[in-house]
Subunit: 342 residues, 2 copies
């Protein structure tokens, strides 16, 4: 078997182009990179030859030899619609700035740590972790050797060196509760996202905001998660309780789907009997049979800002700190007036 491809010929290298053009490897390098230091005449001539030969730079060699930062490692959960959405703007921003993006997906058996290690193996210059799930201390430790940006998750310790671009969770939850209360709801429950920082923030915001509305005794929280199954199980427990809620704020859109599923199972109608609010609001996530009422995060902005700031830090050492975007509340068809008797 021929390793180099069925046609038996190696991929052309800089050397090949240089030989064909009768110039040095260095000149070709300058030209294909678009770096200054070559005459216009040489540029057009060499580029034409490179094209003819089908030359494509070897990214591995380029990264190995280069001295300026050029590689951003990104990890995300492959089964998250919201993460997938963020990738689009991350790709676009990075490519526009001349940076390579290397992806490492997190799956069931391939978690944060695996993914981060894979990225470190590529010696990326910075790490963009979407909603990191490892302990903050680990991120902190990592940040000693390269810039780390957490997209979505806040850092608890102010002293941290880990940069953050995120959404104002409290604002999002507040909008949702204000909306529901204005519709006459009082028994507003929360299916939370579990023990993570984002989940904790949303849960606390829920509690605070309920209290501010004088509904402290109506606070009802049940452990959910970031997927539909978790939402469904959680909602089922909620409905089994003594006083089922008239509105449910789910941890995210997928979770909200599960919640609606459970309501359906219980013969309840949305929003007539129970109102449901999601979170994230990425277009791809809004496929529910009813247009989901949701807290819309600025996906494009989050992705773009993360990359822009990370690059600014890499190139000029500008600190990023904690960038907070305000979400938008998007009323849909899954929320309505509280039932009369409630």
């Amino acid at each position: 078997m021929d390793r180099t491809g069925s046609n038996g010929s190696r991929k052309p290298t800089l050397e090949d182009v240089a030989r064909a053009a009768g110039v040095s490897r260095s000149l070709v390098s300058i030209i294909v990179r678009g770096a200054p230091g070559a005459s216009e005449a040489s540029r057009t001539r060499v580029m034409a030859i490179a094209r003819d030969l089908g030359y494509l730079p070897d990214v591995r060699a380029r990264l190995l030899a280069g001295t300026s930062p050029k590689l951003i490692g990104v990890t995300y959960k492959t089964n998250s619609l919201h993460h997938a959405d963020l990738l689009s703007s991350i790709y676009e921003t990075a490519e526009g700035a001349g940076y390579e993006v290397i992806l490492s997906g997190r799956t069931r058996r391939h978690d944060d740590r695996h993914a981060v290690n894979a990225l470190l193996g590529y010696r990326c210059d910075a790490l963009l972790i979407i909603s990191p799930e490892v302990p903050e201390a680990e991120l902190q430790q990592l940040s000693a050797s390269l810039p780390i940006l957490s997209l979505g998750r806040r850092m608890v310790h102010a002293t941290t060196n880990v940069d953050v671009v995120r959404t104002d969770e409290a604002a999002g939850i507040r909008m949702a509760i204000d909306h529901l209360v204005a519709l006459g709801h009082r028994r507003v429950a929360h299916v939370d996202g579990g023990g993570g920082v984002i989940g904790t923030d949303r849960r606390r915001a829920y509690r605070d905001c309920m209290t501010r509305h004088g509904l402290r005794d109506q606070v009802s929280i049940v452990t959910g998660g970031d997927n539909a199954d978790a939402g469904r199980r959680a909602a089922r427990r909620l409905l089994d309780g003594p006083e089922p809620p008239t509105a449910i704020i789910a941890y995210n859109d997928e979770c909200a789907w599960g919640v609606m599923r459970a309501l359906e199972d219980a013969g309840l109608s949305v929003p007539r009997d129970v109102s449901v609010v999601g979170y994230d609001g990425s277009p791809v996530a809004r496929m529910a049979p009813h247009e989901l009422t949701t807290v819309h995060q600025d996906t494009d902005g989050l992705g773009r800002l993360s990359v822009e700031r990370l690059i600014a830090r890499l190139e000029h050492g500008l600190p990023i700190g904690d960038v907070v975007l305000v979400p938008t509340f998007v009323p849909g068809e899954t929320t309505g007036p509280a039932p009369a008797g409630a």
Copy 2:
């Protein structure tokens, strides 16, 4: 600003470990790779030192220097739940076999060609393209320089050098139609996936199978797509027609969501008024408020087989050809008996 990390120290290299251990770079290389040729004593000693130093092999250098194939490039659509599902088994199988996987996502503005070029830049040894959208000729041309495997999409020309691992589309559609016909449905429509090969196969299978059931005059096809929006728009057109169907087979699960959405909009109940069948059946895709009746592809099998075969080809030159898996039909809650009057 210090490029090499805030602690100012470069990442340790083989050289560093070798020096610390008082042995040659070559020996350390042998040991960290787990290659034969080192004593047990050296192994434990050097490994301990490597660990202490926090040594992590540089993948770029390793790939650049290595002569045996080790890198599989994978491209997929970031917003496809089915593709995301496939990634899990692809990762696991490849890692288990000691291969690196490099991902390149396809997004709105970052299409097949971009993604493939990015992967070629890394000089991957083989390309695994999930549901490729480029013309077959282009794949064919690509296959001249490295093994190409199309996961999901069949090749039209028998002479092609592109390998395929896919699902038996005809069988899947047949199961769906048999199921619906057994429930008394006659007006079974199809919201298709557009002009791609997979879409065409499912469409043709639909037509053939309807004909076999003596329902040729009931054939009703409307152009959909692989997402909920497309499904919704398509179903709307279907319902506007003279004789709306009593059952709809959607191109995939996301499309089916859209179809259900349109039915809901029209005040129709699923499955009382109209039955709906999806396609793919990955767990993450089955979040509809009703358990979707769907044609379940063997996601794990597809991913695993693709990688296993690709590796077999790389290492032993074994041809892959056209591997076809048979899907499973999973009856859910979105299909029921045809309405009496229909």
